[in-house]
Amino acid sequence: MIKQPKAVALVSGGLDSMLAVKVIQEQGIHVEGINFFTGFCVEGHTHAIRKKDSAKPKRNNALWVAEQLGMKLHIVDVIEEYKDVLLNPKHGYGANLNPCLDCKKFMVHKAVEWIEKNGFDFIITGEVMGQRPMSQRKDTMPIVAQESGADDLLLRPLCAKLLPETKPEREGWVKRENLYNFSGRSRKPQMALAEKFGFDDYAQPAGGCCFLTDASYSAKLTDLWRARGDRNYEMDDVMLLKVGRHIRPRDNFKLIIGREEGENNFLSGYKKRFINMHITSHRGPLLLVDGRPDHPDLELAAQILARYSQGRDESEVSVEVTDLEGNVTNMVVKPMPADSILKKWHV
């Protein structure tokens, strides 16, 4: 009996990887998905934090895609290993802090390790030539195959006809004529294929799955590294940069202020690790202070916090401050006028 070949697919939860899997399944290949969690993925938890997003479905798109395709999905925590990818990208960054080429290389390399361990035959991705400015170009796609160690075990079903033949094609596991030649940034060929397969509900495609491609997020991460004088980071840093209003009035401290109830609830989980403040005389948000503020700095922080409370137009509001040892003190401050909170303070 001829053994059924097995492929593992890099699944982001977007349309392209969904199509790539379906194309290969249609050729009688057993496909399972793998999804890497770097900490910077937009998926899931960010919706859970913000209450205003609660109307949106909280589904994990990679799992949803797997379910639609009837395949297993393995989610892998790569938070620690990913630090080196982000901090030392051999091929540099894209427009923001996105190390897309090194990231793809890293993920394909992890998939190589996975297929070796699990007895699978090859790897597929939903890449489309020319779609992403860094990692999906004619000249960079072979670099990913080579430097990841995947070589000809890496098949991109949506643009395979534009690339050299891979082992799965050569061995006759998949028919090259049934693969595609998609290129460029137009989504029309993918949408037509989605229609052919009867996919009518899929996540917004490609590019939006990683916070590192976001200019505002990258600016916050750059600010954090500069202020600390050290580019290392922990998962909590990554999370906190996604939440709240970030204001740095002085180099030695930054304020993180919840923008709504969901964010305040999330930030309250960090109260023991940061000096924190809340307004006692009016309704208002929670504030965490990151850094080493002195007493005048804390007064400034309280004035800024008061600005974002319902007491913003009052002559004074009461603020409760809890330090890192849990000692509680109270301050009465005048809310800072809106135009005194300088634009350049907003990170």
């Binding site: 899931g44 938890h45 909280k58 994990n60 799992l63 297993k72 999905l73 989610i75 892998v76 999370m239």
Partner: protein, 81 residues
Amino acid sequence: MARMTTHNLDARNLLCPMPVIKAQDAVAKLSSGDVLEVTCTDPGAAHDIPAWCRVHGHSVKEIKQGSNELVVIIEVGETDG
């Protein structure tokens, strides 16, 4: 006959997809018929853990919804090992 055992997993204060990943890693060490009770604080786990179970052939026996946390009770299906 192997006896079914019940295991507990504390996935509190973790945001999705981490509770799913922890549940996945715990299930990998269990046998068919075993039960895993996963305690979570992220409400997203109530959607994601059952979705993960469906694609892997495990069943969710019950989701106990508390005020601040929830417990997802998984019965392990056929395992690959």
